[in-house]
Symmetry: C2
Subunit: 349 residues, 2 copies
DNA sequence: TTCCATTTGACAACCGGTTGCCATTCGCGT
DNA sequence: ACGCGAATGGCAACCGGTTGTCAAATGGAA
């Protein structure tokens, strides 16, 4: 007889929060009159057991309000059903959609998302990664400050997918920049622009360099000229600061590394009484939240960031579950597009 | 000698990902020549052991690159060192700072944050909560769709703190609305406004009602009149839709339930050629990211959302660690303030 | 040197599941 | 009615820590 949960001797059940302990498979086993291992099988491998027995167990589980203890399950299996998402800065609007897409994909697969922030610091990021790594099955790294070697080392530990960056030997999800850049250049060409400037972001930014590379290449193909101005801080302030150099560069249109910088340019232009888009066309990248609040509303190259998050999670999951996944294989579905708003217009000439 | 990370002896068992198994206290015990339990004590209760032994063990741990397995630790102790943050909508900019503040507070305390999103659906939220609850020590609930009873039931299971809402019997962190509202009304009064309108959000929104209650009370005290227009969707679209009713209501200033709605009003006003602030002053709530991108830039009542997140986590932690915490006790440090920008001005009269 | 009070650290049980192995039972064909 | 193979479910070990108990070792005092 000896009751299971009640008269536990030494335990004294001095629970932290005074709640009664959650039911376990042992409780269910007792109610259903079977062995705990049978309960485990009934719950995790439907069909393995006699239908009647299985039903009896499931009824008991339901009746007791049973919820499997994830920790207990993770211990022998090594699988936590949790994924880590590590971001340089949660408040950076670029990541909003990434987080949402990732969260959704994870939830759909029955996984939970652990979000950690590195506050733009390499050390903190390393610390955050170390803290998160042991309790997740896989990791999505966004705008990481980690070095290639650190990332590769991590990737040998568990499945890792990098977003918006490429690290040789590590999976990545990067939207296809070419489509959006082509559209943007075509758009500017149509409006008569031939002399462009690129306002580059931080010099270490993989994405800033990638955009710049593609821009020179594609601008050249169209017979347009383009100069790089920067690098500078990828913020509103950064954009504002380089405005003077834009104004004196003689270009009629600028593409900023990101929307924040583009907004900075817009502001500086307004302060200097430079008319956008009449005297200067401005194009951003990312289409972050709020980029249509500005006046003029910002024309920008939109990345499907929610899909980036979603695909990144799917890719990690493919690896975790050892299936030959091809989530988001080929940038086709991850193409970027130009969102034309009011910050671009015909050249003043 | 023996370099740190290199010759880790790992047994190279066929792991899912091919990685060598993480070192355990058993490995350390073997290296240090002691019993595993001794290792456990050396690592978790410094001082309990002979200094020499302790050092030897710690050296071995360092050499092996030991990281405690959180699951294994959580199993006997019941403490996961993880906190759950459940939000209705991660992409709602109002939560950005909450997430950041919460993440920081959690990280500082050595805790990890588990973020889940309910996608504005009560069912999904219940599901998300159920999924998250077993693996966290406490929960912060933001903009929840759960009923009071559900929340109370959850709160009996583990420490719960609700933000931006009050549920009797459950801890909450709500900024002090009065300070900001007083400032806003004083500001409008100074500008000559006497007839105001409040654009209310969803009728079930606790926060929308709370703001409205305070507004009538404080407006009356100043001899101002105020009418409620709404309820409507707390979005840009929602704000735009009620603009017609604002225009015909005869008021000279509106306070919108949140910035998104205020921005909607700004847009509709521009479309209708209504000059803001000359013909109409507009005040928002929250000071979300991007609310200064608009033109005119939005005057808004700012809530210290990062502190809300931070205090909520601290409060949960106080309960989790059973200390008599008083984090954020008294709204003093959580006062709201008016951010005056360009959407408010003297009445046209 | 002897004896006792303290340290120190080993043993083993336990947290709540999972899973390989094996004995039993069942159903079926003949 | 009998024999056989497959279906079923019990047993026990294990995942990696934590912790109560207790014996051994240590040190100090007499």
């Amino acid at each position: 007889m000896s009751e299971t949960g009640d008269a536990v001797p030494g335990a004294a059940t001095a629970r932290p929060h005074g709640a009664r302990p959650a039911p376990t498979i042992y409780d269910i086993a007792q109610v259903a009159g079977v062995n705990p291992s049978t309960v485990s099988r009934a719950l995790s491998k439907p069909g393995r057991l006699n239908a009647k027995t299985e039903k009896r167990i499931q009824d008991a589980a339901k009746q007791l309000g049973y919820r499997a203890n994830p920790m207990a399950r993770a211990l022998p299996t090594g699988r936590t059903h949790t994924l880590g998402l590590i971001l340089a800065d949660i408040t950076n609007p670029v990541f909003f959609d990434v987080v949402r897409g990732a969260e959704r994909a994870a939830a759909n697969a029955g996984y939970t998302l652990l979000v950690a922030e590195s506050q733009e610091s390499g050390e903190r990021e390393a610390a955050a990664t170390e803290r998160v790594a042991p309790s997740v099955d896989g990791i999505v790294l966004g705008a990481t400050r980690l070095g290639d070697d650190q990332i590769r080392a991590l990737a040998e530990t568990k499945p890792v997918v990098v977003i918006n960056r490429a690290v040789s030997g590590v999976d990545d999800i990067v939207p296809d920049l070419a489509t959006g850049i082509d559209e943007a250049l075509d758009h500017l060409a149509e409006l008569g622009h031939t002399a462009l400037a690129y306002l580059s972001g931080p010099s270490q930014s993989w994405m800033s360099r990638a955009r710049w590379q593609l821009l020179i290449e594609r601008a050249a193909a169209r017979g347009m000229t383009i100069v790089e101005i920067g690098p500078s801080s990828p913020t509103i302030e950064g954009g504002r600061e380089v405005f003077a150099r834009v104004a004196t560069s003689g270009v009629t249109a600028v593409l900023a590394y990101n929307d924040l910088m583009a907004i900075g340019v817009l502001r500086a232009a307004r302060e200097q009484k430079v008319d956008v888009p009449r005297s200067l066309s401005v194009v951003g990248f990312d289409d972050i939240f709020g980029s249509d609040f500005t006046s003029p509303a910002l024309t920008t190259v939109r990345s499907p960031l929610d899909l980036v998050g979603e695909f990144a999670v799917q890719r990690v999951l493919d690896r975790v579950e050892a299936r030959e996944g091809t989530a988001g294989e080929g940038g086709a579905t991850l193409s970027t597009t130009l969102v034309v708003r009011d910050s671009t217009g015909p050249t003043g000439k």
